[in-house]
Point group: D2
Chain length 335, copies 4
Amino acid sequence: MKAWEIRDAFGIDALQCGERPDPPLQHGQVRVRVRAVSLNYRDLVTVKGGVRTLRLPLIPCSDGAGEVVEVGPGVTRVKVGDRVAGIFFQKWLAGEITAAHFASALGGALDGMLADFVVLHEDGLVHFPPHMSYEEAATLPCAAVTAWQGLVTKGGIKAGDTILVQGTGGVSIFALQFGVMAGARVIITSSSDEKLARARQLGAWETVNYKTTPEWGKRVMELTAGEGVDHVVEVGGAGTLEQSFQATRVGGTISVIGVLTGFTGQIDPYPVLRKGLRLHGIYVGSREMFEAMNKALAIHRTRPVIDRVFSFAETQAALRYLESAAHFGKIVITV
Amino acid sequence: MKAWEIRDAFGIDALQCGERPDPPLQHGQVRVRVRAVSLNYRDLVTVKGGVRTLRLPLIPCSDGAGEVVEVGPGVTRVKVGDRVAGIFFQKWLAGEITAAHFASALGGALDGMLADFVVLHEDGLVHFPPHMSYEEAATLPCAAVTAWQGLVTKGGIKAGDTILVQGTGGVSIFALQFGVMAGARVIITSSSDEKLARARQLGAWETVNYKTTPEWGKRVMELTAGEGVDHVVEVGGAGTLEQSFQATRVGGTISVIGVLTGFTGQIDPYPVLRKGLRLHGIYVGSREMFEAMNKALAIHRTRPVIDRVFSFAETQAALRYLESAAHFGKIVITV
Amino acid sequence: MKAWEIRDAFGIDALQCGERPDPPLQHGQVRVRVRAVSLNYRDLVTVKGGVRTLRLPLIPCSDGAGEVVEVGPGVTRVKVGDRVAGIFFQKWLAGEITAAHFASALGGALDGMLADFVVLHEDGLVHFPPHMSYEEAATLPCAAVTAWQGLVTKGGIKAGDTILVQGTGGVSIFALQFGVMAGARVIITSSSDEKLARARQLGAWETVNYKTTPEWGKRVMELTAGEGVDHVVEVGGAGTLEQSFQATRVGGTISVIGVLTGFTGQIDPYPVLRKGLRLHGIYVGSREMFEAMNKALAIHRTRPVIDRVFSFAETQAALRYLESAAHFGKIVITV
Amino acid sequence: MKAWEIRDAFGIDALQCGERPDPPLQHGQVRVRVRAVSLNYRDLVTVKGGVRTLRLPLIPCSDGAGEVVEVGPGVTRVKVGDRVAGIFFQKWLAGEITAAHFASALGGALDGMLADFVVLHEDGLVHFPPHMSYEEAATLPCAAVTAWQGLVTKGGIKAGDTILVQGTGGVSIFALQFGVMAGARVIITSSSDEKLARARQLGAWETVNYKTTPEWGKRVMELTAGEGVDHVVEVGGAGTLEQSFQATRVGGTISVIGVLTGFTGQIDPYPVLRKGLRLHGIYVGSREMFEAMNKALAIHRTRPVIDRVFSFAETQAALRYLESAAHFGKIVITV
């Protein structure tokens, strides 16, 4: 098998492509011919050395889709020829998250999907919606499941809700699609009017340019007649929480799913108390959530929004493009 | 004020139209010029004497919409000219149902809406969605709120779910609309292929004629690839529960909202246990639910499905039409 | 290994004890020296041929506890010497129940625990509370987990609630203990005043002899000042549901966990609707529930109530004793 | 009527005691002879001018209990002679919190309970548990309901959970009592070993002196075998959140109920995401929650912990004592 690896140094330039022996299949294991991989911000952090306690060498990237080419003894969930995607936490099949699940993250605790072949346990795979290509399916495991857990599993959004989505990265665009699908109104922010226009085409109800309207929390209040939104999909972290607190209605919910603006900041937690807010931290999700989401995607024949597709050889260029934050939706690598 | 009353005898023919004095407004009370009333099966049962312990004379009918024409001292929630609908249980404003709420049902424990003017406490009113006519708004208080509580508040339906709706009466058609709005697939049953065709136009995914397919539970299983539906809106009671048990997936939910087939029957409750089903009895809903529903209806500019509109003078004909069960959606009386 | 088996005929007398070869361990498998087994009503039904589609020969009994004596390759959850119990559905680790879990029930779809040695996957085991003996731990997998799912996981009981428990079998006595532990008041029924007196010693607040008070639903209403209980643990099925409907408060919950009175009966489902009841069918539970329960049992150093202990050779006598319904709590077989 | 008032200046010394005319009762109103008032930190902030947009003169204090001495027309919930307590938000009867409820807070938006007689709407009163004195009942409306909403209504604590309670103020001691009542283990922190010893007498499982153990988050991890607690009752705000994040298990819950350490601080929200935490802001609670809590208190005959009782004339001394933070439990004023 061929794979990109973090070997002994960090950084996009230090990433190396090489050969590894093909391991034999143990009881319950499945060999998948990877056909596409998608990138997440976390993969960039990993490659650049931002994650402590990685065991090297490591194959990065959590998200991939491909075809089952061989099954080990005892396998019953999939068969050769099935089109499948890996799940982010290989051991988080259902129920609540526990510390034990962390040790099974692809492209982190375990080797990831940036390879032409991978071996995974059958429990760590899902069948993706039949109308999707491998490129589309590869966008689901991290970003889409995160948006689904935040809005649907934990958030319990319902028709008539108003949702605020920050930015136009992978999670945010999936959140926009899920919000529209569930009968909610979605407000989206971006620093680019062009991206906001594209978001409207995907069904966004209102848009706010946070560059020209830095006090976007106040603007969201105006858009909602002074009431605030029911749900915020918060990807910024310390740098955006204050505006999110302001934009949320009394009793509303904030899904904390990213810290793109950095880790620490001067935060006043008082609005959480005074407005009776609920914050929940969303760390991807379980296979049970993934499969519920796939049902919704299949019924609605939803197409994930792919910004650009790179070849396997162009992996480093793909990571640099992600770093530029110029994208709208997902960045995919074909294998 | 002019009103239809159950005086000293039951039956559609015994219903009498007469004059009552206009009561003065007390603290917190509001006078509403009723413009439209909608009928529910329960109103028919009431008129025909099927409800024990009614105090006569009684003005029947829980559902009405109209215009505020006068407000008493201390009123702040509405003002003269507002377009409002009454809520079914005048005292169930929010939270869980309690026995105390029962004593505040319009057209039952209290006089109802089948009059040209009514006096209600301001807490017992909601503003209805601006795009609706009085006729449309009059359909909401009982049937729509029931469907909303069953599917949304208690049921927690989500995009990708499959829902089974029985028949094409008022609650069922609202359930169809809410299911579609929430991104679910809806299967609907009827004894009339023509009604099923209309249901498809409203967004039904699949239909089953229960006359030509009496084993519709089995048919629903086939339609769902042997899995069963996530949620059944059960309006039949003893006569349909068995098929509903069969049609529901392991771990699925049944909203018990009607007993149209009669009260008692030979029922085997074992499938509840074996399939881990959840049944919840739905008795209309609170003002909090009504207002959440109105947000969804307003955003989607949903139009309630009205089968036929009768004049106030034709009230008895309207009840007879309801009795015939020929309708699709709601029957309305203009006042 | 030595095991009791249903071979080619049903009935307690037809049960046979014999030798089976010891299978080698596969990846992830564990060999357990069974030290104690407990009986459930379902085991009796199985032995007597009441379950369709069993593959014979079958080792019956879902519940057992023992000591890990050997671990296969890749095992990390347990080690040799660990004291463990099996979980009822070997594949239901967490999350919601699905049809797929059914095919992994011990003593049903799979061979059970009535043997001196068993081989299970490491995922199908839990460590039981340290203060318990093997006999005590053997009582947990079916009865205790069922009571826990009904009252805690699904029921969400809280301090101040009032709970009605039917009878003094295994599930009911665990429900009594969990209710008391959670700060609730527990009312218990039995046909024996002596058993009711013992239930009071375990913390029951009130008792009702359903033989001398056949209208026990009414009696429960009196005990709760006309309000009804918050939660019923319903083990009777068709023959007791009517009284349970009567005993439950408006908006209350009924955990449907047994059908001891038989499968079919004349039931009027109208109270479900009129009182806004919630019924949920409880089919044992997941490993996640089992482990949460074990935490509670460990903190409270709860002792399961064992009625009588039989030797492995006396297995048939143990089943006959269960059949007599004379027990209070659990019947255990030492291996 | 006689009342303490904030008239035209802030500060404990500026508080004035005077006479007000007794207002006549309107429809639905009730006159209560106040017998005891309890103090909350929020009352101190109010008296000292820390709350914006108060309309003066204002009678402070949200919490009081007394006897119904007169009822207005239409009152049905209470009668003369009933022993009652006021609810914090007079309009929050049930369901979710909304912005509209804020305008009905006693001792804030509305005049409070620090008077010998008050007039409230019957909906704004609850009957308190019969075993309690007026002094004990006066401690319930703010502190006890806050602890109840956080742990029970929103938190859904269950037997076997481990709860961390910060400090020994009113909310914290109620949280300790509710935790024990619900079958949970409670860890409590304080800067005083003597207070910690008293907390153990009330049932605390473990204690941490945060003065001698400033890294108490780490200590809590040790006490829980590296797992962390299920639930934190967070009263400190910006100054304690970081340790609370550390002390909480993956997937655990933090009830944000106070900001005693001040409003703003350097906070890193990343652990919310990484550990999948849930934070909910708790702003007292509804009448529905108050009444559910009263059932639990009545069944368990719980006695609120009163640190010291002052006379009505000593009100300023009582506030100064609260300011000193020397108390353990609640400070009460008899009227």
